[in-house]
Symmetry: C2
Subunit: 613 residues, 2 copies
Amino acid sequence: MTSTLQPPTATARRTPQQRVDDWLARFDQALTAGDPTAAAGLFAVDGFWRDLVAFTWNLKTAEGREQIAEMLGARLADTAPSNWATAEPATETPDGVAEAFVEFETRTGRGSAHLRLRPGPDGNDEGWTLLTTLQELKGHEEPQGHARPLGAVHGADTDRRSWAQKRDDEESELGRTTQPYTLVIGGGQGGIALGARLRQLGVPSIVVDTHDRPGDQWRKRYKSLCLHDPVWYDHLPYLPFPENWPVFAPKDKIGDWLEFYTRVMEVPYWSKTTCTSAAYDEDAQRWTVELDRDGERLTLYPAQLVLATGMSGKKNVPTFPGHEVFAGEQHHSSEHPGPDAYAGKKVVVIGANNSAHDICKALVENGVDTTMVQRSSTHIVKSDSLMEVGLGALYSQQAVDSGMTTKKADMVFASMPYRIMHQWQIPIYDEIRLRDKDFYDSLTAAGFDLDFGDDDSGLFLKYLRRGSGYYINVGASELVADGTIKLAKGGVDHLTENSVVLSDGTELPADVVVYATGYGSMNGWAADLIGQEVADRVGKVWGLGSETAKDPGPWEGEQRNMWKPTQQPGLWFHGGNLHQSRHYSLYLALQLKARYEGLDTPVYGQQEVHHLK
Amino acid sequence: MTSTLQPPTATARRTPQQRVDDWLARFDQALTAGDPTAAAGLFAVDGFWRDLVAFTWNLKTAEGREQIAEMLGARLADTAPSNWATAEPATETPDGVAEAFVEFETRTGRGSAHLRLRPGPDGNDEGWTLLTTLQELKGHEEPQGHARPLGAVHGADTDRRSWAQKRDDEESELGRTTQPYTLVIGGGQGGIALGARLRQLGVPSIVVDTHDRPGDQWRKRYKSLCLHDPVWYDHLPYLPFPENWPVFAPKDKIGDWLEFYTRVMEVPYWSKTTCTSAAYDEDAQRWTVELDRDGERLTLYPAQLVLATGMSGKKNVPTFPGHEVFAGEQHHSSEHPGPDAYAGKKVVVIGANNSAHDICKALVENGVDTTMVQRSSTHIVKSDSLMEVGLGALYSQQAVDSGMTTKKADMVFASMPYRIMHQWQIPIYDEIRLRDKDFYDSLTAAGFDLDFGDDDSGLFLKYLRRGSGYYINVGASELVADGTIKLAKGGVDHLTENSVVLSDGTELPADVVVYATGYGSMNGWAADLIGQEVADRVGKVWGLGSETAKDPGPWEGEQRNMWKPTQQPGLWFHGGNLHQSRHYSLYLALQLKARYEGLDTPVYGQQEVHHLK
């Protein structure tokens, strides 16, 4: 039976809404009947079901009917899903895929879903991709909208304290006379977004950071730093950037926003705080964390510990022969102070990815003689191409004007299974390669070693797989192409007193060497803070197991260890870019809230550890 | 010809959209033909046209066909309106009034309008109310949405300075090497909202305030203070409060928000700044303003001076016989520090309006023996009744959920002509009086002297007419009703060493007297800063000329001197509640921008002065 010779079935002539309603009805029937095989049978053989917490208490993608049936076999009865209905009218793509935003309920919560249907071999619709996400826990809904707090108390207020006083009291008690349930280490956008969610969910938490003020993580970086993702992608939870916020916000503006967000969202935040050690007490099921808070030594006993120290782990500084005789200054890119001190000097930057480009651009704009040393290829994409072609359908002014909301965009973005995401991305980067042909040619002509990811799937997948190896061009590439930023190729062999010598013998005179050589896995922080044993128990953080550069297999299906239970009880990792910090903070906060409330949270398909770093 | 006997005309059977389109077509025709009489003839004899800047370069309500024709006679040719079209589908009220949000253009700008049509005596639709507002100036649009600033510079940045450095440089130059075009005196919500608009419009401005930090105007008030208007009414421009903001925000939370807003909206703000004098230079057409900025003496030369010192003018402190022998503490409500110092004391509060109630409530909750002295009646409305019945259709969670936006709500609110606003308001307060009958009865039973405004039109009109004489109940009234707050009636005759004696001889022992006795007209600040001559030239600020208590005639049709040209060139007043600060800051900012750009701004119907204060 070949579908090409069959007459068009009723599928072809039904509206997308009818297609979705029909499928949801059969889906609901199979689920209610407690029949995993029947439910899984409604999916394409190569269909996907990605669940964020609602069914699996995990972030888990089931790939194919078997895995879907297996997941349901374990989780269907307990989840008790019901009330599947579209949230708004379903739509259809030009190639016949029906798409819908769907709402549903479970025994313990309410969820949002996204569904794609396409006709199977027999012409009937099959589930191609289903994303189910938990949005709220019944009985523990956030106080917003109709449920927002009243504020003023009507009638006699038995609590005499003003709001400011209550907050002061809370701040002086938390961590001293009352323990936080969750301690979040790291107060950048990740920790702050998670802290805001936990606050709204009523989970006693503290976010701690070493810097003086929230936002300093941005303020104290090199002065040319700005966001490379456009504003619509970057909103924090609850409080989006206004209509007149720049597309690519300068670092100090983001710093200011984060500082005041922390304040007005009442995120419980300790700055000038360093955690010196943490140990898990298996019997008490809580952590013992030693801290130094602005000189005061304290011990906290949170049940849950979240490392939100940044998707980048500890700085990676190679030790080249001769580094100890080099007379000039050497530092890692994360410690680069900016170009001001280097006028008249020769600077050699080892590395050719994001930090290297940002640093080189600032240096040459300050008139500094600058050489970038490229050892392996870099994926380059122009930020406006990324914005328009890569993100435009979901995160752009036009998207907003056509009714796209941040929540819907996040749902659509999350609905693309990692396994096949490259199918969506490859055509995008083909288009970009054509669109910016002259640009790429000019780079190649200058000797720059370009790539588009191992399978030409471009930036986002390279980011998801290894979190590095790219530069979103905001001007440095033009300076490489025209030679303003000098380019040297090859690995470093050794340093002399006043130069960097490459493996082919090329000698680069240098007063300053900047190691733009990246970062290790986030579990490096865990190793430092908790111990190597726990770091190894948890394993490598980030990456998909795609068997591409720096992302060895086996296939994980989800980001290693991010935003979900790890092999170390009570230990979690949060972070990513502003989009991920915003979106995934919801799911992590809900998992923590459920545990705080003593709800049953049986984790399905806990990730195993295949790599230590 | 009586309309009741006529068969229903086509009007009755047409859709609201058809009705509006037809009327707009005829309106546009008459306007394009340059025919004021024909255009005015499309209105009901008693129709209204309220214009905010677009036609009149003023805030001006034309009442009735004659005034409409007169306004058009003077302004039609120069305004050159065109492109009238509904912004969204027109609607119809149950009693047959067609309503629409409309967009239009003028020679120099683009505007938003709101239209109400109702059938006239012959059954044809007539303009009942038309609101036209200027929204932007052509060629001077605000950089938002599609036009938002890019932020990062693509390619080589010839300006080496980071954003933070540019802002620092700007801050150090403004007022020293470069003059602001506009100086805004007063950095509360009014000054801040206006400052944000001026920033977006590119008008060099400074907002100055005496306090240490933005938001202190709220932080430093008595601790129980919170907003009495609900959150949906209170948003600032550009950056609405989030979904989880309390309905009635406590003062410190508002203080934090204002501080945050000032920073992230890049409002140029000088705190710790007092203006000591200002004088207008007629020849140079600019002000000379002497300031003390944190101890440094400076002179500024702005072309435009805005007093945004608060809708309340200078404190009004009556001087009773014996005040000089009274042994205890005496202060005006604006200087009341809160209840903490008065445990065990007897406090007498003179006055029975908003401040008196807030202060008395806080005192009794602190166990202080407190008596409120009421001389004249007070309008009381419960805040939830006001919120639900008074504002609910426009400013509430339900309104938001049904698609109401702040802009549309502001337009509808502004579309109700002041002359007939009581018609809308009286039924609302009739309903409130019924709904809260027990509440009001309990107050009357306690001896409290209640009113609902001179014509029973309730709170908002009392606010518009005199800005005082009411209390939005957030709990104090229950304490008056049950006697916790003691009530005394009558005027004060004199003070003794340790008591307040009323005109009927009642003696109230007192350790503290709080004069909750209100404020003068805002031009009192002008008198202090500039001089009595200018204060008199400008006259009384606020009020409608309704010939009700404290609002003598003749009828003004608009708020005296607010947000529009005054009789003193270069002098403006801004303020009002959070709604007005938000909404009217747009029109004031546009008027200032137009002058900054040297556009022609012929003011139609400049307000005359009938009262000095």
